[in-house]
Symmetry: C2
Subunit: 331 residues, 2 copies
């Protein structure tokens, strides 16, 4: 299995660590190691048909930025310069245009390569095009880590619950907001909770994407398109963020034995992200950075899944899960 | 896909209903309906190579007991009298000897047939023998519904989390006990809560298997053998049931903001079923008949899954999930 890795930030480096930690597993199960034959970050690249030394690339990247001194102007030309079986696309999310991720995914699928991505941009913008392209070219296209990080909701719905009619998914899809709201439960005002989330690395310097509900909305779009087979985009989601939530509202909720959580909802007719009153003790009342999804299935009944929504190794673990599925299908 | 169905009680009849409700799904995805060519219950049988009318069998069974007037003395001879691809084994659980289920599963695997079962007896007693037999004969052997009913824990661990090192699973694996304990939270004594569970059909007339923790222990054994690759049996589990729990103990727990729940634990070195103090708000503090499992994975971190642990359609939905997996692999 020869891999081209597009993106070498936190998740790309996490993936490098994860496949190193699973060397024995790959040997034992498949008699071969997956080999990374090409890596690009936003400007630089490294290729080696015999396989790159990922430890050295990680060290290089952390020391000097860039995976090498070699810069590229055309990502697709770098991809074409090596033979690979699978693109792993983990470049930064761009929900306006799809960014590099959209180009590399399209190109790989057009060339008949399998693709794993956690990049929400291309999935939120062009889901059905990409699925159709994968199908046309006989490629596997998997994206477990794009919703809920290590929470295995995508493959759970696509595989384990394939025979179910799923009528709704309600969940907490943004760990940053959940962390902030959990802190507000204990009396902290929004600004202070946000600052703490930023100091801990849960929130970015510009927190708009998280606190305005945009990130959660992107995941709602991906679930609507992939699990509900709808054809929707970001603009179809009714979005309310958490910036307007006051300590007074939290206290009011608490006096009724409730908490406020930012809940994403997907049904056949409804797409919404909004703060909701949740009774304490209800599964969606979870605290901290966890993600959770409640799936309503017609035969199985309600199924709830919880897991870490983000993190270097956690998100890479979702890529590993997809990689193993693809390698198992090739056996 | 030609199915031989061993067992036509609640789950067998549930399966008949489920495949009827998924007629369009099968047509759409596979271009064929699964056909049941043989059914046995404890005494009677019905076979038809062209496919049995399951609605008529269900009606017959509910009216007169038995699926027909024809009785059998040798279940394996009935199996051999038709051509089938897959055995679905849902006869009553016998954790002493493995019962009919053990015989039919072994026979099917020896004949190179795939097997789906929810029968805990054979799995708890002869797990590794059966796995080895399936492997030797190139058969698929799946058993999602044997632990936690519609809660998809087995395939989640075997497939989605295949690349993880799972260090522990802690969970609530018996909905009857959880129902009783939830009622005791509100001040009901054990005997009264049990009686109510019996009236609602959650507990059997002889509730020993549930309330002494034996049923949960069987599931602990199945998870230990299948997910942890251990080689253990029922006698290796340290078991304490819930019959000794007093209203006073519940009240004491409540005064510390805790509840008592019957928790099964599996690690590399530990197998135990026992009542545990659980803080209110902790995932394992769930009330009612739900099952839950907390999985500790080294890369993904903690993952929690919740679902209905029993029920006619719910358990049949787990069989459907396994059936779809097998049909998809044949495509």
């Amino acid at each position: 299995m020869r891999i081209f890795l597009s993106g070498f930030g936190t998740v790309g480096q996490g993936f490098a660590e994860v496949i190193k930690r699973r060397r024995d597993f790959f040997e034992d199960k498949y008699g071969e190691q997956p080999v990374v034959v090409g890596v690009i970050d936003s400007k630089t690249f490294a290729v080696d048909q015999k396989g790159l030394d990922l430890d050295r690339l990680v060290a290089r990247k952390q020391e000097k930025k860039g995976v090498s001194d070699e810069t590229y102007s055309d990502a697709l030309a770098v991809m074409d310069s090596v033979k690979y079986d699978l693109l792993i696309e983990v470049s930064p999310t761009d929900v306006e245009t799809g960014g590099t991720g959209l180009k590399t995914i399209r190109h790989a699928l057009e060339c008949g390569k399998d693709v794993i991505t956690v990049n929400k941009g291309p999935l939120a913008l062009h889901f059905h095009d990409l699925i159709a392209l994968a199908k046309k070219n006989g490629c596997k296209f998997r994206f477990e880590g794009s919703v809920g990080g290590a929470m295995p909701i995508i493959n759970l719905c696509h595989e384990n619950l394939k025979g179910e009619k799923i009528s709704s998914i309600r969940g907490i899809f943004n760990g940053t907001c959940n962390y902030i709201l959990s802190k507000m439960d204990n009396g902290q005002p929004f600004e202070q909770a946000l600052k703490e989330a930023q100091q801990l690395g849960y929130a970015e310097t510009d927190p708009t994407n998280d606190v305005e509900g945009y990130d959660a909305a992107t995941k709602v779009v991906i679930l609507a398109n992939s699990v509900f087979h709808r054809d929707v985009s970001f603009k179809d989601v009714k979005i309310t963020g958490i910036t307007g939530i006051t300590p007074d509202a939290i206290a009011q909720a608490k006096s009724h034995n409730m908490v406020i959580r930012l809940v994403g909802e997907i049904t056949e007719t409804r797409l919404e992200v909004a703060p909701r009153l949740i009774p304490i003790g209800h599964p969606l009342s979870i605290s901290g950075t966890l993600n959770i999804a409640q799936i309503d299935a017609d035969l199985a009944g309600p199924i709830t899944i919880t897991g870490r929504g983000a993190g270097k190794i956690e998100t890479a673990s979702a890529i590993l899960s997809d990689l193993i599925a693809i390698m198992s299908m090739r056996l």
